[in-house]
Homo-oligomer: 297 residues x 2
């Protein structure tokens, strides 16, 4: 027992068995007691059970669809040591609001959501029997769903953990044990700092990829090479998932766009004025910045 | 003999043994008669000979450095069936201007340069003993040099071939045989059309990656994930190589930036005004555009 939580003896509830939740279950397999999967999509639960990714399944209705969501089955009888929410951001917030009517026993609650301010705010409104802690693993793929889940998805990935004032040592220990078990690197960070940084390192790159794909005429398809594929790859992310993230981080995303625009303006101006020595300086600065940012990998 | 050129009996001269030239030699190995490598960097020639990538080597001095370039060794005695220029764009143009003083025998001349208008213009000024044709394989890596050369680099890549008015059927056949031998897909295109399309599909993505790397603070390094790495990857391309391309395609590059900016403005405005239905429509359009552009792969 470490601070009251022992991963290997724990019963883990997992809301959402998509890419992130499915990969988490796969990478925790054999390292925890029991995994109970919750999902609104019955075929996903059946697939997860048949592939032995989860030990038990609870079916939920309309978890991610419609404006009014309702849980059919009542998992009140389940004693969970920790509940992990692995759905898109708006659904995490919905679940947090409904949680008191779903789960009665005391329970740690962690999420894997892509923004942290709105989620930790919703967590702070939970009744006392819940012990909430925010989480965000910085990994993924543009192809979502359980069929793309991967036991190695979290290996060596940064994993942000955001404690609330009320977060206990037990919940922090649970997060640490999970992050360590899946091979990720724990980074403690406030929700404000997380959302500010991720706007630049994740949400902005998505928007640039989208704007690039948006502005490229279809008749250019025969001349698409590896450079375009790499730069535009994030445009393959389902828009619906990104909408919740962008709404939840509007102020920081706008600021990240403005900072990017300054660099693009500088480049454009030097090309327009044929100030090629200035352009080369800017491109060299970019190159060095890239090498330092990526050097850790 | 097909139109007077037979790849398997040909002697191929190759100027530049970097990523593109080295990969070409590797993928032509055993499919042509003889490959003679020309490079200004002696260790590169020695490496290429020792790895059996080329059959003979000719050392050139200062091929890519300094403003005044001079060829030391005189390969006039060599009879080449085709000379392939695999150096950065400005060096290709320099070589074309010097070619009459380097090679006296009749010879097909093809290039692998990233822009086509300036290069085919320089080709059109060649004396009659040269039979020029433009080429541009749409592949590569951000890591250059012979050490990164790869016999499969050209496999399934689009390979643009740009004929001049004076280009003979023999030169066209030579280009076709080479493109086919290395497993690439030949696309015939004018220089104007090539440069216009590549500004959008290649030069713009490089500038977006550069501006992204430029605008991202170094202290965000711990939260860099696969999305950022993919979107910023092209910023790892050496600036010097890109400078020649950008100078040579200034008008089209500026236009591509402006078209991109329209899409980014649209996205920014809908985020700023919280017009999320409009934003989702735009992101869905981007997603569909991406899927159609990338579907061929």
């Amino acid at each position: 027992m470490e601070d009251g939580f022992s991963l290997k003896d724990s019963t883990i509830g997992l809301f959402g068995l998509g890419l992130m939740g499915g990969s988490l279950a796969m990478s925790l397999k054999g390292k925890c007691g029991n995994i109970i999967g919750f999902d609104s999509h019955l075929p996903t639960l059946e697939l997860a059970l048949s592939k032995n990714i989860i030990d038990e399944a609870e079916s939920l209705s309309s978890l991610s669809g419609g404006s009014r969501r309702e849980v059919i089955r009542d998992p009140q009888s389940k004693r969970l040591d920790i509940l992990v929410l692995a759905t898109p951001v708006p659904t995490i917030i919905d679940i947090l609001q409904q949680l008191p009517s779903i789960i009665k026993h005391p329970c740690i609650v962690m999420d894997l959501g892509s923004t942290k301010r709105d989620i930790t705010l919703a967590m702070s409104a939970l009744p006392e029997n819940f012990d909430p802690i925010g989480g965000h693993p910085i990994c993924g793929k543009e192809k979502l769903g359980l069929q793309n889940a991967d036991a190695n998805l979290y290996q060596d990935a940064p994993f942000v953990v955001t404690s609330l004032d009320r977060t206990t040592q037990k919940a922090k220990s649970a997060a640490q044990q999970i992050v360590s078990a899946i091979g990720a690197d724990l980074i403690e960070m406030t929700a404000e700092e997380h959302d500010r940084v991720l706007a630049s390192t994740s949400h902005l790159p998505f928007l640039l990829s989208s704007a690039l794909a948006h502005s490229t005429p279809q008749e250019f398809v025969s001349l698409i090479g590896p450079g375009f594929r790499s730069t535009s790859r994030l445009a393959g992310t389902p828009s619906q998932m990104m909408m919740g993230i962008l709404k939840s981080n509007q102020d920081n995303v706008l600021n990240a766009i403005r900072v990017f625009r300054n660099s693009l303006d500088e480049i454009e101006l030097s090309i327009e004025n044929k100030e090629y020595a200035i352009l080369e300086d800017t491109l060299n600065e970019s190159h060095h910045s890239y090498e330092r940012l990526i050097s850790a990998f």
